[in-house]
């Protein structure tokens, strides 16, 4: 079946041809177009105008209805009518108490989900007193050394009632262990815990560049986490496959989605190899994409991603449950698009990107603070960011109709075009031996570095416009006087004092015995490392000790040198 009869399409094509010879030709004669060709940011050519002829070949089943395979029009049948997206601003800095205070402020301001940024030592599995942690403790996120820090972080916050997203990567399994142990101590029902770990190691090696171990052990840890979490905390997402970072290091929209899907395939294969059925874990895989500047390409990106994912899960992995095929996505607006020059313009940039994400059907969103080009956002900047989402949600009426752009000739045509481009990349990845091997070889890294340099050259030449920076430059505008979120200089000392106290008070021989048991387990392929890790965090082993123990077994990671 097709959407239009052949007769209707040939009528439309005739009409278009006639229009091109009359109205269009006459206009071009007096007013030529500004550019010889128009393209999306990822390079897909754009027509002047789209008609039914451009969507005539799309099978109606590819478009479908919301909440139904292939989910092009949205993961749920009622979308924002049933539940608005979650306003989830990420925050994290200093000691756990400082971040906890910010959470309480943001909940009061109307935020509906929490999201934690950790500092670099925590992300990389180092304790605050590690020499490599010098100058970094509590800097770009909150510092966590032991289970007690996780307890402090969520002090006075009911984890059965609010979902918690944890932006943690190579050390994700330890933070998850601490989270579960705190939940147990507080007597929570594990079935009511909701939230998300970012985890996603493969994107780390190619984009965000936080790693502890070589690629394959990191993927095994991911496997253990997925298997343990889906059984123990069934409403918790153990992974958020993150295209955002791929974009952040220079990837375009096609690369963002196709690479993310290649990684999703690799994780699914790994878990399935351990004997778990696809429908037993796939419903808990979640995603994280950017909402960038090319408005329509971004909207179509989300629609194409949902369709591609549904087909991968159904056709490649034989998933049966609709939940296994339904792509749910958290969105962040594009930090890369923000400028220090005339930084208040960032509010407009962010609002437009946020609107795009809503029209594209996101489930949760972080809108950037207008000062994020400078430092960690201030409270005032976060309030404006939350207000941006509230204005879209409560004032514009865009939430009343599901997939309001569905059926647009242009949007459907570009969605299908992007889908084709994504499949091409996935076929190439398969042909070259799969995502894990290509990460080890630096294949993705090279593509992203090339793309970043190409983008830089476009900005440098002025072809890619940044208002206030390379176009509409106001020579008189002075450097912005921005209030910068202050760094707490005492934060490191406090974390180190607490570490010393914990190490003095705990049963250290027992911790060492448990650590050597963990190492033994890591030497096998099949033992899930989560139960032992949970035992360890309860015994007050530190994050750094646990991560170091496995580094003894697996070694570190040497990045292929790609520039």
């Amino acid at each position: 079946m097709t959407l239009y009869s052949d007769a209707a399409i040939s009528e439309i094509e005739k009409h278009l041809a006639a229009w091109e010879q009359t109205e269009l030709a006459a206009t071009l004669k007096v007013r030529p177009e500004e550019k010889p060709e128009y393209r999306t940011e990822s390079g897909i050519p754009l027509k002047r105008v789209y008609t039914a002829a451009d969507v005539a070949d799309i099978p109606p089943g590819d478009i479908g209805l919301p909440g139904q395979f292939p989910f092009t029009r949205g993961p749920y049948p009622t979308m924002y009518r049933g539940r608005p997206w979650t306003i989830r601003q990420v925050a994290g800095f200093g000691n756990p108490e400082s971040t906890n205070q910010r959470y309480k402020y943001m909940i009061e301001t109307g935020q509906t989900g929490l999201s934690t940024d950790f500092d670099l030592p925590t992300l990389l599995g180092l304790d605050s007193d590690d020499p490599m942690a010098f100058g970094e403790v509590g800097r770009v996120g909150v510092s966590v050394d032991t289970i007690d820090d996780v307890d402090r972080l969520f002090d006075g916050i009911d984890l059965e009632k609010i979902s918690v997203s944890l932006t943690i990567n190579p050390s994700a399994w330890v933070i998850y262990a601490m989270f579960v142990a705190v939940a147990e101590k507080r007597g929570y029902d594990f079935a009511k815990l909701t939230g998300t770990l970012q985890a996603d190691p493969l994107k780390e090696y190619v984009a965000q560049k936080e790693w502890i171990y070589p690629v394959r052990p990191a993927v095994r840890l991911m496997r253990d986490l997925i298997i343990y979490s889906t059984k123990t905390t069934p409403k918790f997402n153990p992974i958020s496959l993150s295209g955002y970072h791929l974009s952040d290091v220079g990837g375009n929209a096609i690369q963002e989605i196709s690479f993310t899907m290649a990684f999703a395939i690799a994780y699914c294969e790994e878990v399935i190899k351990a004997g778990i059925g696809i429908d037993d874990f796939a419903p808990r895989l979640s995603f994280f994409f950017i909402s960038h500047q090319d408005f329509f390409e971004q909207i179509c990106k989300f629609r194409a991603a949902r369709r591609v994912y549904a087909k991968i899960m159904a056709e490649r992995f034989g998933a049966q449950k609709p939940e296994s095929m339904r792509l749910r996505v958290h969105v962040q607006t594009a930090a890369m698009s923000l400028t220090k020059v005339e930084h208040t313009n960032n509010l407009m940039r962010t609002a437009i990107q946020a609107l795009g994400a809503v029209l594209a059907g996101c489930q949760s969103m972080h809108t950037n603070g207008l000062d994020e080009a400078f430092a960690i956002p201030t409270e005032e900047a976060m309030k404006l960011a939350i207000r941006t989402q509230q204005i879209i949600r409560d004032e514009t009426n865009v939430t009343s109709v599901v997939d309001p752009l569905g059926g647009s000739y242009f949007v459907e045509s570009l969605t299908s075009e992007m889908e084709r481009e994504i499949w091409k990349v996935l076929e190439e990845v398969d042909r070259l031996g799969g995502a894990v091997k290509l990460v080890e070889e630096g294949w993705f890294q090279q593509k992203l570095a090339d793309s970043a340099y190409a983008t830089f050259k476009l900005i440098d030449s002025g072809e890619k416009i940044s208002v206030g920076v390379n176009r509409h430059v106001d020579e008189t505008s002075e450097a912005a006087k921005v209030e910068i979120h202050p760094y707490d200089e005492n934060c490191t000392d406090l974390q180190i004092a607490r570490l010393k106290e914990v190490r003095a008070r705990r049963d250290t021989p027992r911790v060492h015995a448990l650590l050597s048991e963990l190492k033994d387990q890591a030497r096998t392929e099949d033992i899930n490392l989560l139960p032992k890790t949970i035992e360890l965090v309860k015994a007050r082993a530190t994050l750094g000790e646990i991560c170091a123990a496995l580094r003894d077994v697996w070694g570190g990671y040497d990045e292929p040198n790609i520039v």
């Binding site: 100058g135 080009a373 340099y453 040198n561 520039v563």
Partner: protein, 151 residues
């Protein structure tokens, strides 16, 4: 890894071309944001400089050792983690300790203006703003080296 220089750039009217500027593009501390560092490495290479990229997660001492070993004119460090004040402080101190403070230090990344004075005081020679285009980056490095003189 040393990036090969474009040989065409060598062909010029000068009878005795000065040796090309050697730059170590480095990442310091735990900051994994390497997009900017890699782009800058390519810009400098395309401008005829010899560029070495340190890779990630280097301590100040490791960067200084590499700078001495590679005999570079300039260390360019891109930092987006907010830890620039302590890390540049340690880097410049280590350069002085090793009697290598003839090596110029250029800072880039996300560095708020109110930290500029502290960085310059600790020994940083130039700070490149975030929005800088290729010309500004290349000129800043050439000017610094010209002012110092070739060693």
């Amino acid at each position: 890894m040393t990036l090969g220089r474009d040989e065409d750039k060598m062909a010029g009217p000068e009878p005795q071309p000065t040796p090309s500027i050697r730059v170590l593009v480095a990442k310091l501390g735990l900051d994994g944001h390497d997009r900017g560092a890699k782009v800058v490495a390519r810009i400098l290479r395309d401008a005829g400089m010899e560029v070495i990229y340190s890779g990630l997660y280097k301590t100040p001492a490791q960067v200084v050792d590499a700078a001495i070993q590679e005999d570079v004119d300039v260390i360019g460090v891109s930092l987006l983690s907010g830890s620039h004040v302590p890390l540049f402080g340690a880097l410049c101190k280590s350069l002085r300790d090793q009697q290598a403070d003839h090596v110029l230090v250029v800072a880039g990344g996300v560095i708020p203006e109110h930290d500029y004075d502290a960085l310059i005081e600790s020994g940083v020679d130039a700070i490149i703003p975030q929005e800088a285009g290729s010309e500004l980056i290349i000129t800043a490095i050439r000017d610094l080296v010209a002012a110092r003189g070739r060693i």
